[in-house]
Amino acid sequence: MNEILLTGWGRTTPTRSRVHLPADTDATLRLMADGNGSRGLLARGLGRAYGDAAQNAGGDVLDMTSLAGIHAVDVDAATVDVDAGVSLDTLLRHLVPLGLFVTVSPGTRYVTVGGALACDIHGKNHHREGSFARSVLSFDLLTPDGEVRTVTADADPEVFWATAGGMGLTGVVLRATLKLLRIETAMVSVDTERAGDLDDVMARMEARDDDYRYSVAWIDLLASGAAMGRSVLTRGDHTPLADLPEGKRANALDYGPKALLSAPAFLPPGLLNRLTVRAFNELWFRKAPVSQIGHPESIATFFHPLDMIGDWNRIYGRAGFLQYQFVVPFGQEGAMRQIVEELVRHQCPSFLAVLKRFGPGNGLLSFPSPGWTLALDIPAAMGGLGPLLARLDERVVDAGGRIYLAKDSRLAPHMVPRMYPELDRWRELRERLDPKRRMTSDLARRLQLL
């Protein structure tokens, strides 16, 4: 046991917790049964949620990364049985050489399977394959009554969908079986095109996203005027073996991503300002080909470019940063446009802004729902940020949209029921699994989720 300050990936709002390394399931069980004080318990993975989702101030936190076994890979059935604390990084290093890939990969490999399920994460293929939970065949959930249930979407849809996207508040996920995707090579064939403005990129995505398994647009939120919303759209799919040059086919599934460098521990504040980000965005836009078809990229380059820089969250300095991600339904393109206009007007120094289209959603608190999603990183110290985002929240709600709890660090509690109409249903189910309210988090306290 270790008493330490924890933050999310954005490094804002540190709070103190007792962090435990559960050696095995029995140890986790004992901790849960102990009822150590009244501050509750929460499982934490790799801490990549941006805000306070994996923090539990004054309470107990289970560091699940110590439960990280890969129990069985069934190559024929394309499934894998893993402990919840295993990271996608570890998993991919095992699976890719076998010709298998996770069905849903987020923008970083450094998330755990348990965290991915709790946040019901999505990737660049949501418009085709849905969220992470859709690839979860079953999971073992330890509830505060000490029971371990094996949950499937068919046999126990309520517990399944209360847990998927339930932000870790229904219990501790111990183990999961995932449906995998077969791949023939460790490469991705990528089509890239530049779009001159927001309407252009949205039109291109609407027209042809369905032809691609993966699609995402990087958007320049500092460009204004006629160039407002200019973007680089990248779409692709895993490269079939036949498309590789003959000389490379023997090693088609070689996979060994490395971090190139790590951000230093201490960086001056204000490194990311409007000038530096504008310069970066200009360069990024210009360096992208106007149009390029079938460019071969590695899995790491295509899916996880930021993982090449270790601890990249440090570049925001001591004040940290936050990510704002919302979705508005199809048909609300006008709302998306207004929000982008407002962000551009405020010149948020955001070099990481991505636009995507979601397919059908699922779950009670699961974020993705059919529509357009925009995610952007913003330095927390930016002046006027709180009121700006509160205004955007209103626009998002008015458009029938919502913001992503895994990214949130500043939403007002009264907005949650307006964004998640199933919140009360989720509360009811959660209460049944945890009547004594042992499971909690800073996010749950801040947003009054329980």
């Binding site: 709002t13 709070t15 004054g58 004040a319 500043r410 801040r446």
Partner: protein, 253 residues
């Protein structure tokens, strides 16, 4: 809980009748705080403060009885507040008495009364609240010190000495709370035009409760440990601190 842009949800003011205390609460409510507890000797007198907090957006305002001098009663009051409103995001130690220097420096009982409220009461309250903050693993304690305590002056040394003691305690507590998730913000206002100073001649660089609140909220949003109100006092005081005593004694401050 505090959020990533520095807004908080729950505010406790110890010294609910204090103009500065309620100005800080009002400012935090404007920034999104919804629950305020005004604790003081005369909760019945805070109806108007409650009303203005509600019209600023507070949804829950409690007025509770709290006597700084009744240090034995502090743990119970704080425990009851916590059981009613939950975690304390910001607690403002705002109570204090000015005393009457001309009387107090000759009347032991009067001098002790000032010290009891301003120093002993604050030491007790800060200790009790800090225990709660350690337990909850987060939260800020805002302590109203005074420039009067930074270098104690002939003209108000009874009051000044209590603030000097309080300031030292709060500064030490801030260091002790490093790594606990809790923090202390020491506030050193100059002459504040308020109920407490009604009828007194304004000193140079005088300020208002609202201006102090502004400085406090800004300090809370960042990682400040000490703030002056107005900020220029920091420079003035760092100069005054080095004035030789025979000169300082004669200064008309």
């Amino acid at each position: 809980m505090r959020n990533a842009v520095g807004d908080v949800q729950t505010v406790l003011v110890l010294g609910g009748g204090s103009d500065i205390g309620s100005a800080i609460a009002a400012r935090l409510v404007q920034q999104g705080a919804r629950t305020v507890v005004l604790a003081g000797r005369r909760p019945e007198a805070y109806a108007q403060a409650e009303q203005s907090l509600r019209s600023a957006g507070a949804t829950t305002v409690h007025r509770v009885s709290f006597d700084a001098d009744d240090t034995d009663g502090h743990p119970k009051v704080i425990a009851e507040v916590v059981s009613t409103v939950g975690d304390l995001d910001v607690t403002v130690v705002a109570f204090g008495v000015l005393g009457d220097q001309s009387v107090d420096e000759h009347d032991p009982a009067a001098a002790v009364a000032v010290a009891r409220t301003n120093y002993l009461g604050a030491v007790s309250a800060m200790t009790v609240v800090s225990q709660q903050l350690r337990t909850q693993g987060h939260g800020a304690l805002v302590v109203l010190s005074s420039v009067a305590g930074e270098r104690v002056r002939r003209s108000n040394f009874v009051y000044g000495s209590t603030k000097a003691g309080l300031d030292g305690f709060a500064t030490g507590l801030a260091d002790a709370l490093q790594g606990t998730g809790a923090r202390v913000l020491v506030v050193r206002p100059g002459f504040v035009v308020s109920k407490m100073t009604a009828g007194m001649d304004k000193a140079p660089l005088s300020t208002t409760p609202e201006a102090v609140a502004e400085v406090v909220v800004k300090g809370l949003a960042g990682s400040a440990t000490v703030v002056w109100a107005p900020a220029a006092l920091r420079l003035v005081m760092s100069a005054l601190r080095h004035v030789p005593r025979p000169v300082f004694r004669r200064l008309p401050v």
